[in-house]
Amino acid sequence: MPTLTRIYVPADSAALALGADDVATAIAAEAKRLGAAVEIVRNGSRGMHWLEPLVEVQTASGRIGYGPVTAADVPGLIKTGLLEGGAHPLCLGDPAQHPFLARQTRWTFVRCGIIDPVSWDDYTAHGGGQGLARARAQGAQATLEAITASGLRGRGGAGFPAGIKWRTVHDAPGDTKYVVCNADEGDSGTFADRMVMEGDPFALLEGMVICGLAVGARKGFIYIRSEYPRAIAVLEHALVVARANGLFEDCAIELRIGAGSYVCGEETALLESLEGKRGQVRAKPPLPAHHGLFGKPTVVNNVLTLATVPEILVRGAEAYAALGTGRSRGTLPFQLAGNIKHGGLFEAPFGLTLGDIIDDIGGGTATGRPVRAVQVGGPLGAYFPRALFDTPLDYEAFAARDGLVGHGGVVVFDDSVDMARQARFAMEFCAAESCGKCTPCRVGSVRGMEVIDKILAGRDVDAHLALLDDLCNTLRLGSLCALGGFVPYPVLSAVRHFPQDFRRP
């Protein structure tokens, strides 16, 4: 019996949306026709999305990549020796040596794109499970200390220190506690959570169990958005495999699927939704750490936060804390999106500048036109002009310039963008997604659209710009959560940095 040649064809959503299933089918058919013995593994994505579908073949001297591959390329590729890693115009060599990957510092994404996402053997062969073993051996106090010492902050956007949150839940009275993973990644320009869930789901599950052990929770929920069908399917599969391999002895994990509400990414709205109610925001305090799911002490953390935990325990809190800048420690998986030549995922220590990310790593726009504006941190993040490209990606540095790092999404626009329309869209989105509980957000967002429409129509522009500023202040200071509270960021940054778009002849 000949040895099987292992071929990797990603089944990450981005690869699927570019025809990866057709490529996999074509490879299987062509191999069968030629009598070649191949094993096709559906891995996650390495994060170089402009090269997807990126097919890799395991050779005696390591993995060799080809991309972007279409189904029509397959017969030619195999003819020129794809199965042996032969030369071809689409050949990329060892993907790990590609400059885009070689420059990264991967912690959260250490296995993504490399392993079979639902193979427990592959996971453990690549270091999976060691973090939990460490947590079990060292006990809750040592784990809490390690997470605190690592400087890990909530990657969902708020940047709250994970160690403090975990400690609070650990110290809260009561026998029933919960771990909740916020996988409601609704921000445009972000897909890092999706990639982890599709490419290395066990890392997330392991991180949740470690959290459960550390805080004393025996039950965990993943709340994932319904817009991620592939991630849902992979997680469902991974849960079955993980259960069979005894991962949930200390803390059982259950998957829950959202129903298309953006505001359910806000932690208290998410808890309401998990309880089976309308996703309406709760007033804080009490904090979820004290009074969370079903009124019990609850850790609510983002996918990236939890998925990074095992690696921190394996490589050490000090090593993680040694990376980054200022109070932003460790790495952040940046997501390059929108009008960008080299779109995808880039994990690096905090501190790279916006210019580094967009011009150097991202290669500028996909359309080849000049970059005019960049929105960082999702629909509630500020628009920055090129003049601010020296801003380091770091929570505090962005805040100092009235921006948000948020979940690390970077959306690039070329010079055809109309910033007044983008400002109006921010208000429109807020109006559509407002949970309706607080008046500034529910009513203010609608009034915001109307005021911007008047500005666009050239009516009393100065007076209406002043009114818009005033309205944004009300939203910022008077809203219950970040939806209404942060929508002034995109609106006012557009007005401030691109004033000409609001004054038309």
Partner: protein
């Protein structure tokens, strides 16, 4: 599929034991019947010991729940910023024109329902769309038409 009280009761029974069962129950009903009609609201309320007003509140809060049946295939086009940066608005306009429907509308032959959506997480390969179960990256109208054709098969 038309509403079937017995079938619905079976679905409700499957998820009733969960903590906070309302969303999983409603999602399963929507998957089975393609929508959540008024009868469902009453039946779910009764089964989960909630008021009809509460269940109505939940059903109307979430974008995913449909009160009336849609077409055979859903065409969802991302309306969010990353897709806007790559011509998503023009694609959406073209889709509305070609299909002759506005958002949430179903074509006259009952084949396609057009839905706006906010983010498929395909922001690096924008603009993005979803046709039935198929994801489409760097979407344009010919790609969407092809996906629609494949769904019909």
């Amino acid at each position: 599929m038309t509403w079937d009280t017995q079938r619905a009761a079976g679905i409700i029974e499957t998820y009733k034991h969960l903590d906070g069962p309302a969303l999983p129950v409603l999602r399963a009903l929507q998957l089975e019947f393609g929508h959540v009609p008024d009868e469902a609201v009453a039946q779910v309320a009764e089964a989960l010991n909630l008021s009809r007003a509460e269940v109505h509140g939940i059903v109307t809060f979430y974008h995913d729940f449909r009160r009336a049946p849609g077409g055979r295939t859903d065409l969802k086009i991302c309306r969010a910023e990353a897709c806007q940066a790559m011509g998503g608005d023009a694609l959406a306009d073209e889709a509305r024109k070609r299909l002759g429907v506005d958002w949430h509308g179903t074509t006259q032959d009952g084949e396609v329902t057009l839905e706006p959506m906010f983010c498929l997480g395909l922001c690096s390969v924008a603009p993005a769309a979803q046709v039935g179960d198929r994801l489409v990256a760097r979407a344009d109208w010919p790609k969407i038409e092809e996906a629609l054709r494949k769904c019909r098969r």
